[in-house]
Symmetry: C2
Subunit: 348 residues, 2 copies
Amino acid sequence: MKVQAFENHFNQQSFPSMKKIKIAQFGLGPIGIETLKLAASKPWVEIVGGIDIDPSKIGKPLAEITGDKNCGNAPVYRSLDELIAKNKPDVIFHTAVSKVRAACDQIEPMVRHGISVVSSCEELLYPALREPELAAQLDAACKAGRARVLGTGVNPGFVMDVLPVCLTGVCRNVRAVHVQRVVDATTRRGPLQKKIGSGLAPEEFERLFNEGKTGHAGLKESAALIAYCLGWKLDELIETGKALVALQDIHTPHVSVKKGQCCGIHQLAVGRLRGEVKITLDIKMYLQAPNPHDACQIDGEPAMNMIINGGVVGDGATVASLVNAAPRILKAQPGLLLMTDIGVPSFT
Amino acid sequence: MKVQAFENHFNQQSFPSMKKIKIAQFGLGPIGIETLKLAASKPWVEIVGGIDIDPSKIGKPLAEITGDKNCGNAPVYRSLDELIAKNKPDVIFHTAVSKVRAACDQIEPMVRHGISVVSSCEELLYPALREPELAAQLDAACKAGRARVLGTGVNPGFVMDVLPVCLTGVCRNVRAVHVQRVVDATTRRGPLQKKIGSGLAPEEFERLFNEGKTGHAGLKESAALIAYCLGWKLDELIETGKALVALQDIHTPHVSVKKGQCCGIHQLAVGRLRGEVKITLDIKMYLQAPNPHDACQIDGEPAMNMIINGGVVGDGATVASLVNAAPRILKAQPGLLLMTDIGVPSFT
């Protein structure tokens, strides 16, 4: 074993330890705070500030907002312009919205200043699905400003899209991709337990789902990313959401659900090409779900049958995927990026 | 569902269907022939020739050599210069050697002519492990010629390196990576059944292994790639190989093994950092192995426990990973690339 092989690696100059990346955080809700705390633990990060509209946060040092002294004394600014005037970041972590239109409004000024963005916005995983013109416009702004934008997370962003695509990399042929995710919501934070409709009447929850007011965001984007990578121009991409009903009373520290009330969601996206089912993405998130897991079957040559026992556990993994992506996007060409365009995901 | 979202994708100009890639094949052994046949089935491929030193192949059309008319009438040339004089390829598939030194000698003239290379050379997965100077030299030649070189395959190249790295992309922290692969060699081609020592005395096989004359090539390279991606400068990387002994007589169409003779190999690579085990790669390839599978445990936050039931089946997957990589390397910056540097593996 030649130890120096690692030291002399021909590609070492691109390793993120060589130069610190200046980071700022846009949106200081729970996910934003966790993102900042994880970023602050990395030797390659220098935190230069935060941005939030909450008057109770503006002006306060990030160490105080996050309760983590590693986050330092840079403050929360009320606007991008104020942040830039003080200390321009290389990368902003954007954890503020789920809709691509709102995200583009917030992100475009950043990239025009040459600041790259990693966003948790679910629809930004594959922005051209809902907003092709906006996506093209943001891509052009990125190129003009020499910046990169990436939407990522654990789901969407990994278990139901990037990981299945990765498995197909050794396939001679792929006929269909099927993914299942089962999340035991009992182990997750309160907002998620509420988002899945816990305690609502099943018909009330399904009405909210059909109005686009609840459910897991980004499932269609996961399907669209898979379809794009595999070269499938789907004719149809349909999403449904059903309430899962409690078979007994359930109490958690966050919610109380009576037998017969909604205790979670079963959401399904199905993509078809010339009538044939090419993609099924099936996610169940409910209280006391037994055997949580992530599974994927590639119907192809070779066929593949993957399972992650226990599943990839949510919020911590979402935060990690944001932070881990920052060095990778800086190595990519400027533009609005897809997770599959940049280097293979990796702990960094 | 807006179908036009797929048509108008902002990134569509990079999709390989837009322009054919001129392909040539270097080395027309069994893997080379299968690579060429798979490439010939792709709408984005134009085959322009082959290169081999075998006088019985030189001058013959590839359709005749491969038995597949889709491979066309371009001939096998005796040298790179003869091929280039006739029709210069964009990408050469290189399936000729396992050693990085021999591979570099063959590949360097290609990249100096601006031709990119996807190679099955196992040691080229992480060339700086054994040959840091040669790797640096080949990287410089790539940049001078505006070409890319990539070593890949299914193993090394995917199941024991790229896929485990990909899983860590959603981790806040990684303490160690453990990978196991069990291959039922009974289902594989004759050369593999012989390579794993079938029918030899166990001590004879272990002597050959310790002399570097047999065993699975590239296991240390897989460990080195994982270590590089995770930023671990290993102090120690040790590989061992033991004979697995037949408990009864075994007959396949290719080999006959008596009870007590070698029927396969158990090979192990262990990487340590400051005394702590950070990476274990454990592969067993033997006749009549029950429950073949690929498994990976990430000891981290979150912990992950992945299994691919049945495992990723070998030669067809190796060929697929070579062909699928071609469009991806052409999108990357010139240089000697690692699988983790370029876009996420994907069927193409």
